[in-house]
Amino acid sequence: MEQDRAVPSAHETQKKIYSQMVARTKPKPPLARNVTGAFFFGGAICTLGQALLNFYISMGLTRPDAGAAASATLVFWAALLTGLGVYDSIAKYAGAGTIVPITGFANSIVAPALEFRREGMVFGVGQRMFTIAGPVLAYGFISAWMVGLITYLFK
């Protein structure tokens, strides 16, 4: 029995030593470049959103309607660029800058929808298009509902 216990502990030590070796050997992610890329691309998308909002208000839409129109425009362009195979090339440099804004959400739905169209409209596109966005939607709805409940109870 003692031998049984000794074997995994030697293996654990070996694992620990190896993980240190891996940490020393692995290339470090270019943090400065990634953060700068995310900042500027993310900022550019948000600035574009603001410009669209101002444009729709100037065209006579109410502020909430203009907000929805601006979001719809961004989603449209992100979906189109995904379809043209350009979005992932931009995302390579932008990182979180293209994932966090609403354009990233659009990309995460259109990309699997395109990918799985060969498995059919129901079990391909229909089922798989939310593989990445699904968790965001599910937990988004849950937290929105909880915030709503708290607001209702304590206001």
Binding site: S19, V22, T82, D88, A91
Partner: protein, 342 residues
Amino acid sequence: MAATKKTGMQTITFQNPPFFRGNAAVAGPKEGQGPLGRTFDVVLPDTLNGEETWEKAERKMLENACELAITKAGLTVEEIDFMMAGDLLNQLISANFTARDLGIPFIGLYGACSTMFEGIALASMLVEGGFADYVLAAASSHYDTAERQYRYPTEMGVQRPLTSQWTVTGAGAAVIGCEGKGPAITHVTIGKVIDLGIKDPSDMGSAMAPAAADTVIQHFKDTGRSPSDYDLIITGDLAAVGRALTEQLVKQAGYDISKNYTDCGILIYDPVQDTHAGGSGCGCSAVVLNGYLMGEIRTGKYRRVLGVGTGALLSPISSFQGESIPGIGHAVVIESTASLRK
């Protein structure tokens, strides 16, 4: 009766080494643009290869490689006794469906990216044991089919980490027979499944390096050979990170392979091709071995090569369940016939 061909713990020494009779490598467009592009028999114009789906494209590529290897061996499909092949797709659809179309008695293999070497090892044993005259070993992988099964849809905007590797679109096939002009297979070292706790699926080089190192070290121990007995030691798809780790691990066991060691995943792409650590997938070692390496051995640049096919034995399910990634490495010694006669 003792197993007379077994040497040490994990190695088999062939008394009548079987030969490579014909080899073929079919590669995708990105691989064709890489440094080894001209060593492949066929380079596809695009990743769909004239098919409706990427899965069909992979299958067609594998079938193409098999038929070409048989033709180059000067044989017909009917003359092949057994076929051993595998790929990365669930339930081995590329290999199974190709075997359906070729009609050769078939044994499906799964060794993840080590499949080409696993196939050569087993095919050599069948031939040398007198169970077959000609055995076809083949393997394939495809960037798009692997990506959608293991990772993200291809158009997803994600930033790939520097440790990540690029699945090679390619298929390789080899006909192994008891006589022929091609290079011979003299030893096989079957690897153990080794897991040192790496969990990051975008760092498969680190996950597989301990298995590759273990097989290389065991091969030296079993055969009494040392790194200088080989002109080249080459692993399957460890790429830059895994190669550096393997070198360190083998050195800790007292063998210095720094002078003559490289990896197929490093050779296949140019750094400007933006694959990060390098290539991976069954196709990686399959096209480099059957294309580039066979050429170099035939022309005499390398006389004796220790090739180690490496595989990361993970599945998307095991990754989601938080399991670490076990690895495996199978070694095959390939020697030019000129060198063998000496």
